[in-house]
């Protein structure tokens, strides 16, 4: 089962090495890891998606928390969160297929950010499921390039 952990870590060189090294050494099954800035220049936020059962996740959390450079770890899996990812997707187009592709982009509320003769590039923001669905939808036309940020997550407010 995929779990999403958000960790607040100190923002200086060597920190990423220590965390990445921890995961590599203990052979945890990491689906994605993104490091984001926060409003505090001394702290970064890592969003880590891990594959494992409750026992493994507990271990990952505890091992992360042990690191002096990690200030806190929150398991956001069960929480009410907004999760988003950003992707830039280059799709092959021909005069015949262009209109269909643009229609698909529209349906998914993506934005065309670059247009060439034989390809166009779409910017798409949404939850991971939506991005995956869009990629599936345009793949038949020819997926030329795909760049994704990895998931970021924020808690919903309580009201």
């Amino acid at each position: 089962m995929l779990h999403t952990l958000a960790a607040l870590v100190e923002n200086h060189p060597g920190v990423l090495t220590r965390v990445a090294g921890l995961f590599a050494r203990r052979a945890y099954n990491i689906d994605s890891l993104s490091v984001c800035q926060t409003d505090n220049p001394e702290l970064s936020r890592m969003t880590i998606v891990v594959n494992g059962d409750d026992q493994v996740i507990e271990q990952v959390r505890n091992q992360l928390n042990k690191l002096v450079i990690v200030h806190s770890v929150t398991d956001l899996t069960a929480e009410s969160v907004v999760d988003r990812e950003l992707a830039l997707i280059r799709i092959q187009v021909s005069p015949e297929t262009r209109a269909e592709v643009l229609q698909t982009v529209d349906i998914f509320r993506g934005r065309v950010v670059d247009m060439g003769r034989t390809n166009l590039t779409v910017e798409l923001t949404g939850d991971v499921g939506k991005i995956n669905a869009f990629v599936r939808a345009i793949r038949p036309y020819g997926l030329l390039e795909l760049v994704r940020t990895g998931k970021i997550v924020i808690r919903r407010s309580d009201v």
Binding site: G14, T17, G21, V68
Partner: protein
């Protein structure tokens, strides 16, 4: 009046030494080098005592031995590049056994960092996986804070090695240091456990029928041996220890069943397998104890796990009552709550346990000079404050099985990493730490040669260490495994052309005594103990002696050979 009245600029090196003194450091094991020149110059004006090993590995293991027998943070120092990389084994060793060390390394000047300069090594990068934390100091004003934090991190919670990398220009720069205010937002030290869980534990103890206490290094670190003993006696609980937990209960105590695991006592292994309540304190269920078979370990038991490190809970086995906290504080509370409860009904269990103990005692042949006999003789001639330091191999297991350790912090051995060569320098650290107590080093001819150059350090500092060299001319433990499990196909375990170790000792100015018969053992040991200086005793042992019992690889701990 000048704005700077009363303010003083100091060299980084001086700031460092003053910060160390503030932490109560009176001893550093160090080896100089080019980038450390500013520090070694400042050292001449410092009251801190400096011990020079003959290899940096000797220095870090000595700091480690010092820490193990005192509970204080050990400090070692090496120069950049190869000096620092020579520390890696020792740092990994301390990390695996949770030993508090502050490791200082010199580094090339900051402007040269990352350019492959002379004697440059990325020691913080190299030791990232084997340090509790590390620092690369770029501004000498940060030194007081960093040193304070380093000692705090090394010595609290689950202890471990902390590295501070010091570029040459940082040591040389003259600055006014910042105040030593720690900024460790990412670090908390658990202390008392959850009281509801503690109540559960006391209740479980009261209601069980076949309890066992499984005690490890954490009991020693927390100084929890006393309260553990009280609890064991009050509730009539049998106790097994790990290699790192030796000394939790005095050898020969009626409740002590012995060591558990791969070379543990039969009674200990059977008791753990059959118990209905396992009180695990300061242990990590490592594969020397479980044989790597966590799902087959104490399967009939409700498992209580008391440990200061949350990440150890449920790492290997399913745990019914986890308590995160300091072992001593938690056990004191458990004992408190338990006072008001009925004692468990364990008479039948004790009958069973005693039967196992009587039927499967630790034994050895008495018809020749055996290593076990040497170890037991040592015990008969020493006193309760004597320290035994070991290297790694068969001799280590025999020492663990047969030496009567009475008090905590009198047995120091490389448990987790199993580092051959640890013994000699660790014994140096131990003797310097407690100069009035007798120190035995139990070693083998393989391990002894790995840090043999430290004989010079012993001689130079006149350390009256008694080296018990169990010399069988082979790499004993590996050879035994080849004998039992590889059809006696011995591959590279013959230490042919060993030197005459007595002559080697004498070359270093150390008294050497060869012992090759049973009759000489006691008198040689007595002579060595009485002699006011270091002695090497070279015991000629047969290569065919086996460590028994032994659990074959991959088998559960109930399937022992030779028990």
């Amino acid at each position: 009046m000048s704005m700077n009245a009363g303010k003083k600029e100091l060299k980084g090196a001086t700031i460092l030494l003053e910060a160390l003194e503030k932490e109560g450091v009176d001893l550093i094991f160090g080896y100089p080098g080019g980038v450390l020149l500013p520090l070694y110059d400042a050292l001449l004006d410092s009251p801190i005592r400096h011990i020079l090993p003959r290899h940096e590995q000797g220095g870090v293991h000595a700091a480690d031995g010092y820490a193990r027998v005192t509970g204080k943070v050990g400090v070692c120092l090496a120069t950049s590049g190869p000096g620092a990389t020579n520390l890696v084994t020792g740092i990994a060793n301390a990390y695996m056994d949770s030993i508090p060390l502050v490791v200082l390394t010199g580094q090339v000047v900051t402007s040269l960092l990352g350019t492959d300069s002379f004697q440059e090594a990325d020691i913080t990068g190299i030791t990232t996986p084997i340090t509790k934390h590390s620092y690369l100091v770029k501004d000498a004003r940060e030194i007081p804070r960093i040193v304070k934090e380093a000692f705090y991190l090394a010595g609290t919670g689950r202890p471990g090695p902390v590295l501070i990398d010091l570029p040459k220009d940082v040591l040389a720069m003259e600055v006014e240091p910042f105040p030593a205010e720690m900024k460790l937002k990412g670090y908390q030290v658990p202390s008392r456990g959850d009281s509801s869980k503690i109540a559960e534990v006391a209740k479980a103890l009261s209601e069980c029928h076949k309890p066992v206490i499984y005690a490890g290094g954490g009991v020693i670190t927390a100084g929890a041996g006393g309260v553990l003993r009280q609890l064991a006696e009050k509730a009539s609980l049998p106790v097994v220890t790990t290699l790192m937990g030796i000394g939790s209960l005095p050898y020969g105590h009626p409740n002590l069943l012995g060591m558990v695991g791969l070379h543990g006592a039969v009674a200990a292994n059977f008791a753990v397998d059959d118990c209905d309540l396992l009180l695990a304190v300061g242990v990590r269920f490592d594969d020397r104890v479980t044989s790597g078979l966590g799902h087959l370990f104490a399967t009939k038991a409700k498992i209580i796990h008391i440990d200061i490190d949350l990440a150890e809970i449920a790492k290997v086995v399913r745990t019914h009552i986890p308590i995160v906290g300091d072992a001593r504080l938690v056990l004191e509370e458990v004992l408190n709550v338990f006072e008001g409860l009925p004692v468990p009904q364990v008479t039948d269990w004790w009958d069973q346990v005693r039967a196992w103990k009587n039927y499967y005692p630790m034994k050895y042949d008495k018809d020749r000079m055996t290593p076990q006999m040497v170890i037991e003789s040592m015990g008969e001639l020493a006193n309760d404050d004597t320290m035994v330091i070991t290297d790694v191999g068969q001799h280590q297991m025999w020492a663990a099985q047969f030496y009567p350790i009475i008090k905590s912090r009198n047995f120091a051995t490389s448990g987790g990493l199993g580092t051959m060569g640890f013994g000699l320098p660790a014994a140096i650290g131990a003797q310097i730490a407690r100069p009035d107590d007798l120190v035995f080093l139990v070693t083998g001819d393989g391990s002894f040669q790995m840090c043999i150059q430290e004989l010079a350090t012993i001689a130079h500092n006149k350390l009256p260490i008694k080296i018990v060299l169990l010399n069988n001319g082979v790499l004993g433990m590996v050879r035994q495994l080849q004998k039992f499990f590889y059809g006696e196909r011995y591959s590279q375990t013959d230490l042919i052309d060993n030197p005459d170790f007595v002559k080697v000792a004498e070359a270093y100015g150390i008294r050497g005594i060869r012992v090759d018969s049973m009759e000489q053992v006691r008198s040689a040991l007595a002579e060595a103990i009485a002699y006011p200086g270091p002695v090497l005793l070279d015991f000629t042992i047969s290569p065919n002696e086996d460590v028994l019992p032994i659990v074959p690889p991959g088998k559960p701990i109930t399937e022992m050979l030779g028990g």
